[in-house]
Symmetry: none
Subunit: 273 residues, 2 copies
Amino acid sequence: MFAAIYFLFLRLHAGFRNQNKSLPMLKKERQAYILHQVNLHNKVLSSTLCAEINVSEDTIRRDLQELAESGKVIKVHGGALSPSFNEVYYLTNGVYSQDQKKVIAQKAASIIRDGMFILTSGGTTIIEMARALPRQLRATFMSGSIPAVLEYMQHPNIDVIMVGDRVSKNSKITIGAEAIARIREIKADLCILGINAIDIRNGITDNDWDVVQLKKAMVESAKKVVCLTIAEKINTIQPIHICGVNQVDMLITERSPDDPLLKPYVDAGIEVI
Amino acid sequence: MFAAIYFLFLRLHAGFRNQNKSLPMLKKERQAYILHQVNLHNKVLSSTLCAEINVSEDTIRRDLQELAESGKVIKVHGGALSPSFNEVYYLTNGVYSQDQKKVIAQKAASIIRDGMFILTSGGTTIIEMARALPRQLRATFMSGSIPAVLEYMQHPNIDVIMVGDRVSKNSKITIGAEAIARIREIKADLCILGINAIDIRNGITDNDWDVVQLKKAMVESAKKVVCLTIAEKINTIQPIHICGVNQVDMLITERSPDDPLLKPYVDAGIEVI
DNA sequence: AGGATTCCCGCAAAAACCCGCAAAAATTGC
DNA sequence: GCAATTTTTGCGGGTTTTTGCGGGAATCCT
């Protein structure tokens, strides 16, 4: 009889110890665990967490929300991300003529429609355009410019394709035969170029050999070519030729389309906005 | 009948922790016991404590409150946590385990020689390594990770090659068949991977299918494979397999190479530093 | 576009907390 | 030793926190 009771005691005692592990986690403890997982793996899924901790998804969601409110994590649909991993910033204060470029960016962003496949160069004007894109725009952007890609990446509904090759440190874009070959493989709806010089007779010109090769390929690989530039660069010439004005479909500056400076380009059949 | 046995069980169970059960515990004694439990398990539930000591929950709560006031424990809803608990999980401001990662980065940077061609993955550890590279190092780095490339670009004597393809927004690396094909084309001296899980039996594993494909290709395309990870990820497993430990040539953590945690990997023939 | 997730909101039950109080226990003073 | 005093404890009740669930909206993926 006593043996039987002692046996029962042992069973119960063991049961207590096992149950100890599945006892409800304290809220703080749970949140600490979640935070730990986020920091360790840079992301967590609420579904995984709720299976691991054995609580309802609502509880996880509430925890995530709390952690997000205090800035410990960034909540996203289905889980959360580590905040430290997501801050990739690229500062462009003190860019030359930034205000004008913002105007250009706004105009350029307005011509982009959902579903378009767009090839873009680099340059500060392009970066401003990337920032000006509406948040709900669904499009695909392809570029070899690292700062531009960083900006495109900020948009939730934009697919970004990075053109790979050797990285040019001063222009921060990928250059070389490989990049050109990749660009040749595609046919984009739009090619948006930030340009350094345009002139009715000499067309678009630039001063970096590698960049010119790339831009040439871009012009060839797109149905429509859009050029962005501040008015200051209109009617200027650089050493290396990219393409003639006849290959340009659209020109965007900070000036009004009926500005006399732009008349020659309108007359040449370019859509100026 | 059952009630009687259960009562006996409770008596015996309590007896396990407190020899002279018949006498009620003194306040000091009780608090010492609670503190002991907290330090032992990092947490206590008021409910279990009150069952163990056989006092009302109010008493436990008052004890906990007192201990909390003198800073011995941290009171939370439902129980208390050890103060060290918070240090471990919460005190990591900024990037998680950044100090450890800096140590790893330093070690990793030290194995790179002039003239090497190095393939690297992404991840915060890799970025730390990129920052730790000596300024006069002349080498070629190839990566699909945009933050990593940004760091490599800062170094005047480093050639950087960006692997192109679709950009994954959460991991900030290029993923896809194109990227894999490009990696396959080369044979690097070194492949440096920031890894998320390593285990003697399961090898290196991760949780993102696209990233795994990329890392697999990297392992295949390098003469030597170097893995970087904080010790915490040692002996953990993720769902998707990258490669076995037999394919790893070097393992770098923040711990000393003769740390017992690392012994199995040393025994497996991996160079651990 | 539609099917499947995930999210959000309100609710209700359970658990934990707080407060005041009075009994029990311990301490102190004589 | 004993009574007064202080401390401690348990308890009842009302409040707050936490958690899971259901249903409908929002969002994602294909």
